[in-house]
Amino acid sequence: MGLESSVTSPTSAEGSLQAQPLITPSIWSGFWATFKRDMLIAVRHRGEMANPIMFFLMVITMVPLGITPEKGILQILAPGMIWVVALLATLLSLDGLFRSDFEDGALEQLLMSPQPLYFQVLAKVLVHWLTTGLPLTVMAPLLGVMLALPAEGFLPLVCSLLLGTGCLSLIGSIGAALTVALRKGGLLLSLIIMPLYVPVLIFGSSAVSSAIEGFPMGGQLAVLGAFLAFAIMLAPIAAAGALRISVNG
């Protein structure tokens, strides 16, 4: 991979340990190890994985029952409703992002690994997105049908959720890292993260509604893409820093 660098152990007395220099593994080997492990855990705990998706499904199913089954009103509600519920579903699942690793000591092991924490966090966030954001995005068109979303709204809905849920997972990881050491961090996590989610929500749902009204949606999607690019660059750094503080305390 071209990322290996060799670190020679200090020369000293002859012994099996000094005989061969230790090779720092490539960044990808650490990334893969964590990615694979978290994917396996997610697959073995399928029930937990289904939680946010069930929440998404149930709330959207109740909207026509609770408000009105009238098509005209549902059409207006649909983009915002789907986006708000997708956001809340992500928020629900965030608390567990680092929690179990913190409780069983795996986080400590991650911090003292020679691997950069940035990529470890990125691997964990990627798994989180694959198990919440991606299923939510895939389910959204189905729920769009339930809420009588007009045909021209489907493509922007999927595109905006695809970009937006990535942002949500990444931004959320900062809050999860900050509150991981607190016994009841759930409420605080929501308070920290909510304001940061607002721009994503605004641009996401407005991409859908403007497409329905016949305007181009490129602008909003471009902004979401920019959010995502920034979040990929910066959020893992912030989360890594927050994890160090949390474990240190």
Partner: protein, 212 residues
């Protein structure tokens, strides 16, 4: 021939406005097995956490093979293996998957195969049994199987003998002696009596500060 691996100079740790220890000077050479002693709550785990770089709440200086730790940190972490109270073992995964992860995030290569390491700790045949089927002692053994796999020189072990039977303790002591003879070093805490001849004991009680 002394080969200084880790050196602590005038280390001082405080917790909740209580000085745990101060003026701690310690040089750990290749071939040393150092036991940190002291009653519960005297700062043994805190000291180990400082040594594993996961805590930075200390005053004083740390050196790794003659260089200040903040300069040589990557090299140090490459050579470090830490088994703590909390082992980091995932109950949903099998011992094989757990050990693969540890190896992946650390040096990436192993001294022997996972089967051999698990056989050494008496878990032959448990490679693919999910860890939630294992007993506390067996889980501990999975964590300790890392000692057979790792190429790291510095082992920091926090209460490694908890829940391990007599035969297992003897095996571990033999392994530590071999490791030290091969040019590594071991820093551990335990409340058990150890039979290793060359054991160095550091009692944290004697570095206890007066209340701040």
């Amino acid at each position: 021939m002394t080969d200084s691996l880790i050196e602590l100079k005038n280390l001082r740790c405080e917790r909740d406005e209580r000085v745990l220890f101060e003026g701690l000077d310690l040089q750990v050479n290749a071939g040393d097995i150092v036991q940190i002693e002291g009653p519960n709550g005297c700062g043994k785990t805190t000291l180990l956490r400082v040594l594993t770089t996961s805590s930075v709440d200390y005053e004083g200086e740390l050196y790794w093979s003659g260089k200040a730790l903040n300069i040589s940190k990557l090299d140090y972490l490459n050579q470090l293996l830490y088994v703590g109270h909390l082992s980091g073992i995932k109950k949903a995964l099998t011992p094989r998957e757990n050990l693969n992860w540890f190896s992946g995030i650390n040096q990436g290569h192993k001294r022997c195969s996972i089967e051999v390491a698990l056989e050494e700790v008496g878990l032959f045949g448990f490679e693919d049994v999910p860890c939630h089927h294992l007993s506390a002692g067996q889980l501990r053994r999975v964590a300790l199987a890392r000692l057979f796999l790792t190429p790291a020189r510095v082992w920091i072990l926090d209460e490694p003998f908890t829940a391990i039977d007599k035969q297992g303790v003897a095996n571990l002591e033999r392994l530590m002696t071999e490791h030290a003879a091969g040019g590594g070093c071991v820093i551990l805490t335990t409340h058990q009596d150890m039979t290793i001849q060359s054991l160095r004991k550091i009692n944290l009680q004697s570095y206890r500060g007066v209340a701040a």
